[in-house]
Symmetry: C2
Subunit: 359 residues, 2 copies
């Protein structure tokens, strides 16, 4: 025990050369059937495995990180997490780490996946996305002492002073603040915001960026500001409907900022006055149709996540308790400005978005 069988052990038990064992593993077609059967019996009896698995058992390291693949809710807003997964996998490969994917239907289901993968020593740690306040997943991982990092802050009051766990996030507040400033600098005063219902960690953060930049400039009173805001679920149709509502009730607007590119695309469609529209996430759609957008630098997020996770691996196998609070990284988004002209309302009917005929 503590040692693992080697090719030499297999060769001895099977009564063949080490080269023959290697041939059975790698080019079985060239080995006679009865010899192959004898070698396979020896491999099975000894529980022989090539080096990596044995090393995994010895070192208690799988060199693998687990991440949940979020369901494809819509192809627009969800694409930033796909971009993050690409960046994470590429940078993990460069560090000799592998990425194991799983799906989960709920936080509880995700926790049972954590348990399974951790019990099986399939992964060394986890990268979590889409954090929420009082996230049951992070609570469970903390209790178990399992290494993890989140893309998304813990959404608690001590996020920046004594965070509960290592995290990386993109500063949506500064993204919306900069987007608002860019419109103000271009001469806009009545800048509307189409966002998501509160409470939403990311949504509330983005909204505050717009809200604070508006109050700081002082072009619009706090009372008037309420007329410039529409709250809605995410989606293209919802963005179009919100834009129509602003046209009816906002008393004139110079620009619109949105919490997502899906909302922004809808706002562009229902935008006969060609008011500038800015989205969030810089999705392929924004690039394709010429929509300004706030870009989340997923490469930076992935690099920071892997660095913090590597620190966790060291911490978990080293001293039992580290008095310093866990580290975190706030990544600043970039405003991508595109010279777009809005799509006239009559050219792309909104009903095209929902009426599909298959044959």
């Amino acid at each position: 025990m503590g040692e693992f069988p080697t090719v030499t052990d297999v060769a001895r038990v099977a009564g063949v050369s080490r080269q023959t064992v290697s041939n059975v593993m790698n080019t079985p077609g060239i080995v006679k059937a009865d010899t192959r059967a004898r070698v396979e019996a020896a491999i099975s009896a000894l529980g022989y495995r090539p080096h990596a698995s044995a090393r995994r058992l010895r070192t208690r390291r799988s060199s693998t990180i687990g991440i949940r693949l979020d369901p494809m809710i819509d192809g627009i807003s969800g694409s930033v997490l796909d971009r993050f997964l690409h960046a994470l996998t590429e940078q993990a490969d460069a560090r000799g780490l592998r990425v194991l994917l799983f799906t989960a239907t709920s936080p509880e289901d995700e926790i049972s996946q954590f348990r399974r993968l951790n019990d099986g020593a399939d992964v060394d740690g986890f990268v979590l996305t889409s954090t929420t306040a009082d996230d049951p997943r992070t609570e469970w991982l903390l209790e178990q002492g399992i290494a993890f990092v989140t893309f998304g802050r813990p959404w608690r009051s001590d996020d920046f002073t004594a965070p509960r766990h290592p995290w990386v996030d993109v500063d949506g507040y500064s993204g919306l603040h900069a987007a608002t400033r860019a419109q103000q600098d271009a001469g806009a005063t009545r800048i509307a915001y189409i966002g998501w219902p509160s409470p939403s960690g990311t949504g509330d953060d983005r909204r505050r960026g717009w809200h604070d930049a508006m109050l700081e400039r002082g072009d619009v009173s706090a009372e008037d500001l309420a007329c410039l805001e529409v709250v809605t679920a995410d989606g293209v149709d919802q963005g179009a409907a919100a834009m129509q509502q602003l046209a009816r009730t906002a008393g004139g607007i110079d620009a619109v900022l949105c919490a997502s590119d899906a909302l922004a695309l809808g706002a562009m469609i229902a935008n006969p006055a060609r008011v500038p529209v800015t989205g969030y996430d810089n999705t392929p759609i924004a690039a394709a149709i010429g929509l300004s957008s706030v870009d989340q630098p997923v490469d930076e997020v992935a690099a920071a996540a892997l660095e913090l996770l590597a620190g966790e691996f060291e911490g978990k196998s080293g001293a039992p308790s580290d008095p310093a609070p866990p580290p975190f990284r706030m990544v600043t988004p970039r405003l991508i400005t595109r010279q777009f002209a809005a799509i006239p309302r009559d050219s792309v009917p909104v009903n095209a978005l929902v009426s599909e005929v298959s044959r």
Copy 2:
């Protein structure tokens, strides 16, 4: 050897109860520091691992499949492979299989990843995407006797009679044939095609679907048909340029079919006459802007791939040679018809696609 240390072994070496060992693994916070240190030392000395890893070693099964994550070339055409990955991960989870991701910069690099993952017993088999004729990856896997299935046919003359390996593909020929027929049935006779340079397995297959449907109907002579075709690299700008070329040289067109949604989006932008445009892959962009498109049913592809791979697992561990040729599945795509009106050329400037200003 052949046996693995158990919780009982750890408890005996550490001089504690089995429950205490379990506590150290699962709720270390409740164990006294010196007891925990003793248990951890015993775990480390014995090379103890919870059950799944030991079972993996005994059974020689990792219950994991490997797949290369393709680089994000552009967010439009590449999204179908992301959709496939989501479908594959969800259905693999349902079958108790995990998906291990890796990246590779070339077919040779991908082969060295195959070797590493196979040698390490990290995966039971592979799912390959983006097959080419004389694919060095499939040749290598066949030589090694490693289980795999491809999303993409082998692109050989015996694909349907005696394929080299199990494969699943989407019938691009019938997708373009149906899309051509749909336009013909709506009264179009001069139907243009914007596609990729030959040789391209998928591109040539899609082109033939249009070509045959055009010749079958006989509205256009074979000579005239050549004027209705533009060959270009993939991309939005390329689609717009191809549409402009058709306007100059095709002598009037009633409809345009494209090898991708990226080309189709470009064609829609440079489409002042509002000719119907059909893309391929039914990407989020097609849904968002109301573009007809040929949809690849990735759920069906993923289900078929996992089924064929499961058959390979049985084959590899069962009889050494199976005389029947490997199985394959051809999945029929669906034509999604949307009632779009083209985006007028002056409303979305093409230069917006390339001019980005960050701040």
